[in-house]
Subunit: 179 residues, 2 copies
């Protein structure tokens, strides 16, 4: 099986994944979607593992919920020393250059990887390591915040292969890297 | 007839309307669309007049082409002293607060207005004066450039009511202000 790194994330119409204070309360404001998960379960079903940064990991831990992932999660961190014992069989620390991390995960059979967290996504894009992005656009202009995309050494071309509207107002579009 | 201010613009996937140098050469790189104008003629047909800033006006003048608009164009500028004589029956200078400019244009029968140019669009949005945005997303990440959207005093909610894909890769989506 070939490998794939994919992004599945929501942004504001002006491209922010969090407001100026790092908050995501503007996401609470979207219309009731009922049982509609906007493709999350299907995306997860084809995912072998998640890769996220320390910030995202600690944010998930801070939510007062059960651990939400049933796939292996690899946390990229050069500073984190250990994973809470309760998660030791599901969450694993990784460090070092991204291409080497990917080589290790691929050799362990983790091929289709869900890359999450703003900084981690930017780091992957800067090394042109993202093949697919499913971006859910919450149609609000925040005016400022933490942007999804960042600086690049060179432009990266994608193609939009699919777009959908949920609840009459939320846009979701799927982009594939065009090489 | 009620009035409407609308935006029809192309941006990169990371939200830039021009590259770091102000250039738009990345737009030359899109696939051949044949006679497909991505809705431009239809949008123009329902337009009474355009409003743009001095930058956009001077950019259009700098292109070695015939004047491209058959609708009245109002140029917002506090510094421009006059319009080239050849355009005096089609291009008009306006200055002062946006709401007063709009009142004047409405009273002259210009109701449906196409707001163009990055800074002008941002100024209209900052005063919550945009009702509709048709955004064509060229699926390239530039990494830096001149952003379409800017700072706002407060978030503005829209809803995405339509999305289309052109040439198998370009996304166009239509947003209406949700109040």
């Amino acid at each position: 099986m070939s490998s794939k790194n994919k992004v599945f994330i929501a942004t504001s119409l002006d491209g922010y994944i969090a407001d100026k204070q790092g908050g995501i309360s503007w996401l609470d404001d979207i219309p009731d979607l009922g049982n509609e998960d906007m493709g999350y379960a299907a995306m997860m079903a084809s995912t072998d593992a998640l890769i996220m940064g320390r910030n995202s990991f600690e944010t998930v831990l801070s939510f007062d919920i059960d651990w939400p992932y049933d796939k292996a999660v690899f946390v990229l961190s050069n500073t984190l020393k250990s994973i809470p014992p309760a998660l030791a069989d599901r969450v694993f620390l990784e460090k070092g250059p991204l291409k080497e991390v990917l080589k290790r995960l691929h050799s362990q059979g983790f091929k289709e990887l869900y890359i999450d967290g703003g900084k981690t996504i930017q780091n992957f894009l800067r090394e042109d390591l993202i093949e697919e992005m499913i971006i859910t656009t919450i149609p609000v202009l925040l005016g400022a915040g933490i942007p999804l995309f960042g600086l690049l050494d060179k432009p990266l071309k994608f193609k939009c292969v699919e777009s959908k509207i949920y609840a009459g107002e939320i846009l979701q579009s799927r982009f594939l890297r065009k090489k």
